[in-house]
């Protein structure tokens, strides 16, 4: 499913006959086996230590040796700051990297926003679009070097709905929905002018609506509407 990896079985290399494995000490072998058994999930170093029940210095030595022999590697995960280990022949699974949208353990926001922008522009041009329509057009446009699965596009479109940049509508088979079957879920831009901010309500457009200290504000309190700095700024024309 992922653009980064195929089924894990394909990636497993057969170790060579005279592999560094043979030269491992008993402790090193234990550590290696535990790491390897976790396959593409890998293991957090602290968990590994608990499982192998080795002493600190011994544990550190084992890891160093295994790493120098390139039998294991450290991988970046969504839980930054944690030392995560994996047998060299595996690629980190989606579950630990955070999935398709992660790059070296970081959410690839730049890439996501780029894709989001393209989707909005596309939907705006198409007036109404189905999920398949969006997927197809993106594929054909060639803007992105990578191929997206329809699930990835769906995730992006859903996020755009949450952003209130596009809205979900059902086709009624008329006018703009002309060539879309009745009842099919489509997407269209929320505002007539393409990208737009959500409407700001009555409460959100006054200082009290966005005030983080409203719970401690009282008529004659330390924070009061008479002395409020937000009001001062708001009413300073």
């Amino acid at each position: 499913m992922s653009r980064l990896q195929g089924p894990s079985s394909l990636k497993r290399k057969q170790p060579d006959s005279n592999s560094p494995l043979d030269s491992l000490s008993e402790q090193e072998r234990v550590v290696y086996n535990v790491i390897k058994s976790k396959q593409d999930l890998g293991i957090w170093s602290k968990d590994l230590k608990r499982e192998t029940k080795l002493l600190d210095n011994m544990f550190g030595k084992c890891i160093k040796t295994l790493q120098s022999k390139k039998l294991i590697k450290e991988v970046a995960t969504k839980n930054k700051g944690r030392k995560h280990l994996m047998a060299a022949e595996f690629e980190p699974s989606k579950e630990i990297t955070g999935g398709n949208w992660y790059l070296d353990g970081n959410l690839d926001t730049e890439f996501i926003n780029l894709l989001k922008d393209q989707c909005v522009k596309l939907i705006y041009k198409m007036k109404v679009a189905t999920l398949e329509g969006i997927s197809d057009t993106i594929r054909r446009s060639g803007i992105f070097k990578v191929e997206f699965t329809s699930q990835q596009i769906e995730e992006i479109v859903r996020a755009l709905v949450l952003d209130n940049e596009i809205v979900e509508v059902k086709s009624n088979g008329m006018e703009e929905f002309d060539c879309i079957p009745i009842g099919k879920v489509c997407y269209k831009c929320a505002s007539k002018g393409g990208k737009a901010e959500p409407r700001i309500g009555a409460m959100a457009s006054i200082p009290c609506g966005v005030c983080p200290r409203i719970s401690v504000c009282a008529p004659d309190g330390v924070i009061s509407p008479k002395t409020c700095i937000y009001y001062e700024k708001w009413l300073d024309f």
Binding site: K78, N79, K80, G98, G99, W101, N106, L107, T109, I112, E155, R158, A159, L162, D163, N164, N172, M174, E175, P198, R199, I200, G201, A202, M203, A204, S205, I206, C208, G209, V210, C211, P212, I214, S215, C217, P219, S224, P225, K226, C228, Y231, W234, L235, D236, F237
Partner: protein, 527 residues
């Protein structure tokens, strides 16, 4: 239930309209619930006369309803006790008088507007008093053509129009007798029915229901000549008449002689709130969908208005396609719409697409429209206060309507996994989210955080914050006014100065914000 800041705001309104004494009485009634005169005197520590006068003012302006109940007295006799109930909604409606007046002047003529203005100013008036007011204002206005009878005719005509539009109504009984709630006696059937309706009636609702005039009389003058309402005395029978006499005891000075039957009239708030609710629905639909959908919605609301039993009508009465189309054609803008276009708009409005044919009917889910408008209001607060990531998370949880786990929320909203719990925690701290901790213990203990938007609780919280904000706007408005006066004293002739301009702009800004915020208050409390 009225929230803390709701009460504070209501008391503030009463203070600014009627002064400190009246607001003290009102404050006690709002905080403690219905009270007798004796208890009110004790709690307020005012003199009996002060409390009595305050109550009279509040009753006159429809902010308090008296009622009597029976208690077993010391000697084992049944004693009738009078209690007073503050009407929170009616107090808040005082803020909306300009909006009500605008509706009247839009839909009816100048005469009606003047009569209506009188009712707003005085709370309750007899037809006689309304006529007198018109006559004296005609005299001072110096209209040459307007003699006494002509003015009275115009008033009668205007008053009829107001009654027909249901903008005014007969006042409720001054002191209805409240039967003790007969729960053990009530049959199973009724119990089942009240359970179906959701919450059982509150005491306030029971009191208001028992005070309300019978529907047939509510909007009826029941008189041939118009000037004397004696004919109506026989018609009403004793039930209404007798109760009304209690008011006469309190207020005979104000309303004329004791033995003459007095019919008092007041503004029918319910109708205005209905109008404003319809307007709010239309505005929301226009912004969210398009003009066509708003026109169709207006047509359906106009056609079903008479069938609406209460303000918070959930769905419009099912209408035949032909009826809707005819109604749409009555509107000038609607004439450009085709039958297919109307049908498409109805589907856009969320009507289940009914069978095509001669008897296809449509009913619009008004509750849904109101809910969407409420969501939008709260979401925009979240966006402004907590940022776009929080906005996306909040919308996800609000739509899901169920508990979701932190990591799942991060995935679906494209927010960094480390950042997600912080944002959710902030929302939870400010009572915008509900949180549950789930601990799974196997070899190791895992704990998950689950999050959810609990709408009923959150809506009440937001409403309370809005009352707080409205109170703040009002207080700042008073403060700016004081500054202005202070400035005028200091400067002597400050014409053309920038500070004066700033103060004027500030006042306009604050005032228009309050008008808008009041729309939001109605959206959450009255619609």
């Amino acid at each position: 239930m009225v929230t803390q800041y709701g009460i504070k705001f209501a008391v503030h309104l009463i203070t600014s309209h009627f002064g400190n004494l009246v607001s003290k009485v009102c404050d006690n009634l709002l905080r403690r619930g219905p009270l007798t005169l004796q208890l009110l005197i004790r709690f307020t520590e005012l003199t009996p006369l002060q409390v009595k006068n305050s109550l009279l003012i509040l009753i006159q302006h429809n902010c308090v309803q008296a009622f009597s109940t029976e208690h077993i007295g010391a000697g084992g006799n049944e004693v009738k006790v009078t209690q007073y109930l503050a009407l929170f909604d009616n107090i808040l409606h005082r803020l909306r008088f300009p909006k009500f007046l605008a509706i009247v002047s839009q839909e009816l003529d100048k005469d009606c507007e003047e009569i209506f203005e009188g009712l707003i100013q005085h709370g309750r008036l007899t037809l006689e008093q309304i006529s007198d007011r018109a006559e004296s204002s005609a005299k001072t206005g110096g209209k040459p053509s307007s003699g006494g009878p002509a003015v009275r005719d115009a008033v009668r005509e205007g008053f009829h129009k107001l009654l027909n539009s249901r903008f005014v109504e007969r006042c409720p009984a001054p002191e209805p007798f409240l039967e003790p709630p007969s729960e053990p006696k009530s049959s199973n059937k009724r119990g089942a029915k009240s359970k179906l309706a959701g919450a059982s009636e509150t005491e306030e609702q029971r009191i208001l229901a028992s005070a309300a005039p019978i529907e047939a009389l509510r909007f009826s003058l029941l008189t041939t000549s118009g000037t004397d309402l004696d004919a109506e005395k026989d018609g009403t029978g004793s039930s209404v008449g007798e109760k009304r006499k209690h008011a006469a005891v309190d207020s005979d000075e104000e309303f004329g002689s004791k033995d003459k039957e007095v019919v008092l009239w007041r503004v029918n708030f319910e109708e205005f709130i209905r109008c404003l609710r319809h307007k709010a629905c239309m505005e929301n639909v226009r912004a969210r969908l398009d003009d066509g959908a708003a026109i169709v919605l207006k047509a359906v609301l106009d056609a079903t208005r008479s069938a609406e039993q209460k303000v918070k009508t959930e769905t419009s009465v099912p209408l035949l396609m032909n009826t809707i189309f005819e109604e749409v054609m009555k509107n000038e803008a609607g004439r450009s719409l085709t039958l297919d276009r109307v049908r498409a708009s109805l589907i856009q409005l969320g009507c289940p697409s009914a069978m095509r044919g001669t008897d296809e009917t449509y009913s619009i889910d008004l509750k849904k429209i109101i809910e969407l408008a409420q969501n939008e209001e709260v979401e925009s607060i979240v966006l402004k206060r907590y940022g776009r990531d929080a906005y996306r998370m909040f919308r996800l949880l609000s739509k899901a309507g169920q508990l979701l786990e932190t990591d799942k929320i991060a995935d679906m909203t494209f927010v960094e996994k480390k950042e997600t719990p912080n944002i959710l925690y902030k929302l939870w701290q400010d009572e915008y989210l509900h949180m549950e901790k789930l601990v799974v213990s196997s070899a190791r203990q895992f704990s998950f955080m689950l999050w959810k938007v609990n709408k009923p609780i959150l809506w009440e919280h937001v409403l309370d914050e809005m009352y707080h904000a409205a109170l703040n706007l009002n207080q700042r408005l008073i403060y700016e006014q004081e500054q202005k006066e202070l400035y005028a004293i200091q400067q002597g002739t400050p014409t053309g100065s920038t500070e004066k301009d700033r103060l004027r702009n500030a006042k306009i800004y604050l005032h228009s914000s309050l008008v808008k915020l009041d729309d939001a208050l109605m959206l959450f409390h009255d619609f």
